[in-house]
């Protein structure tokens, strides 16, 4: 037994060392490939898998060989105007580019999409539903409602979901709020304690993946709380645990100019990456994380001054720079990618809007190496970059693309979606160096 423990710890140490030594990622400033508009580490290849399919958000690659994407808006800046909420895509000839599309979910809009146990799941802002996964193409007939009763909101309203592989469905219920202020985003308005929003929002709710018409408050279980918006939500099957990357609050400097400079407000609060056990409290709105000092701090609306440490909320595994907007999270299941990428977390950062007057940042996909137990095993790296285009981004409208959904298909290839400029999806394969 003791020998086993020693052996395991030796193994863990050697994996950590290998990961730290081998992973370099994409250095900042690396030019994107002119054909695909993305920069990747050596050995990886991208194709533009889909272009102009609509404002695609989360994506899933099903076992039937089709890729499904949730569509966020009926109409976007590029003039796309189809009143449907999802798209099915297929690459029949295997050239890395789709040649078939079928639209479905009429009169809906959504971000969440997933496949579990032979069903295709879809999340609008107010419900999670499912269809039997078809042999190919768009699902047929009306969907069966699975999780319902979510209040209609506009802020942080997406009902994205993940599955634990044991019948559990986990749904993000984002808080329609910045810091649970009494008056929404109003300078000088104090935070409410207890924050009433946490009763119905600001957490992850668990449902049975197969039972129809479960009501959020009557049938759902609040699995974790204190999460402002967990749109980057995924089950890590290697560590058998839920993980989330949550959006930190906005506007520290504009509400509290005496405590935060524009420079500090651009970097803070951290975007937080967490392992989430049942009953976990991630701290919002009472505290935020400051990765520069490695502590949770008291939220200024709750008496904080930018320096006072808080004991409310768990510390994240990683604190990323402020406002990068984690919108996608994925753990690979296959073994097509190099060994050091197989157990960690890919996080798609949509890119900031709240760092002005500093340049906007974040528009990238990062990789956090994790060990068998789901603990951090090395420094995070940038896995894919260049989406926003060349040069500093003063305003998010200048960003060509913004990474969003992530998926892995049966062959182990990865997909990265952007809802900008009419929608684009990249397919990423590892070709070797």
């Amino acid at each position: 037994m003791i020998a086993k423990i020693v052996g395991m710890s030796l193994l863990a140490t050697s994996i950590t060392t290998v990961v730290a030594a081998d992973m370099e990622g994409v250095p900042d400033g690396t030019p994107a490939d002119p054909q695909t508009g993305v920069a990747l580490p050596a050995g990886f290849k991208a194709t533009v898998f889909a272009e102009g399919v609509g404002p695609v958000r989360h994506i899933v690659a099903a076992e039937n060989g089709w890729v499904y994407g949730a569509l966020f808006r009926k109409k976007d800046v590029s003039g796309y105007d189809v009143n449907v909420g999802a798209v099915a895509m297929h690459d029949s000839d295997g050239d890395g580019v789709i040649d078939k599309t079928e639209y479905f979910a009429p009169d809906m809009q959504g971000t969440g999409i997933g496949v579990y146990d032979g069903y295709l799941y879809y999340g609008t802002d107010t419900a999670v539903m499912r269809w039997p996964l078809p042999a190919g193409g768009a699902p047929k007939g009306d969907a069966t409602m699975i999780a319902v009763g979510f209040n209609k909101e506009t802020q942080h309203a997406t009902k994205n979901m993940t599955f634990d592989g044991k019948g559990g469905l986990y749904v993000n219920v984002g808080a329609p709020s910045n810091a649970c202020m009494r008056e929404m985003r109003k300078k000088g308005s104090p935070g409410m304690r207890p924050c009433p929003i946490l009763e119905e929002y600001g957490g992850v709710w668990k449902f049975d993946a197969a039972t129809p018409n479960q009501d959020q408050m009557k049938d759902g279980q609040r699995y974790a709380t204190g999460i402002r918006n967990g749109i980057a939500l995924s089950w890590n099957s290697h560590a058998d645990s839920l993980y989330v990357a949550q959006h930190g609050r906005d506007q520290l400097a504009s509400f509290f100019p005496d405590m935060f400079t524009n420079e500090q407000s651009a970097e803070l609060p951290s975007e937080e990456f967490h392992k989430v056990a049942e009953g976990a409290d991630l701290g919002w709105p009472y505290s935020y994380y400051n990765h520069e000092v490695g502590e949770r701090m008291v939220m200024p609306e709750y008496g904080g001054d930018g320096k006072t440490v808080s004991d409310e909320g768990q510390k994240p595994l990683v604190g990323f720079p402020g406002h990068w907007a984690p919108n996608g999270l994925m753990f690979l299941k296959g073994d097509a990618m190099p060994a050091e990428y197989r157990k960690g977390a890919f996080i798609a950062f949509h890119g900031s809007w709240n760092r002005a007057p500093m340049p906007q940042q974040g528009y990238r996909v990062v990789y956090v190496p994790l060990d068998d137990d789901g603990n951090v095993a090395g420094d995070w790296i940038t896995f894919a970059n260049g989406f926003a285009g060349d040069g500093p981004i003063a305003s998010p409208r200048d960003a060509k693309h913004r990474p969003m959904g992530l998926a892995e298909d049966a062959s182990g290839a990865m997909y990265i979606a952007s809802s900008m400029a009419g929608g684009r999806i990249w397919k990423i394969t590892y070709e070797g160096e």
Binding site: P55, V77, R185, S254, W353, P357, S395, P396, R397, S419
Partner: protein
């Protein structure tokens, strides 16, 4: 009405060179500073907004339309157009605690910058929109 607009516009042109203002005509540099203090965090310094989240002000129909449009958005926030009516996710708070003069300065800045040609508004215009 039209003559007033022309006079106000002329005063604005002068203001760019000489900091002298007709009574009730908002000061442009003040409007820019107030915009950057109160609005730019969401609508961005270039007025570009954030796709899907906060509307862009560049070439905005509201900023080129009737005077009350921009004033009402500042006074009442997104409630002015009914919650959930827009294509944008974020809600805008009310800035009714700003003075009529400050709101007029911001509205004028928005209506005369970012490729907009809506023309200036006055303190009195703001006062008339308060409920």
């Amino acid at each position: 009405m039209k003559a007033n607009n022309i006079i106000a516009a002329a005063a604005l042109c002068v203001a760019a060179v000489v900091p002298t203002f007709a009574q009730g005509t908002p000061e442009v540099p003040a409007g820019k500073a107030l915009y950057e203090e109160n609005c730019a965090v969401c609508h961005q310094f270039d007025g570009g907004g954030v796709p899907f989240m906060q509307p862009e002000l560049i070439g905005s129909p509201r900023a080129n339309g009737a005077k009350g449009g921009v004033i009402d958005m500042i006074l009442f926030g997104s409630a002015a157009e009914g919650a959930g009516q827009g294509e944008f996710s974020n809600e805008m708070t009310s800035f009714d605690y700003l003075t009529n003069k400050e709101i007029a300065a911001i509205a004028t800045y928005v209506r005369t910058n970012f490729k907009n040609d809506g023309g200036p508004v006055s303190d009195a215009d703001v006062r008339s929109r308060r409920k």
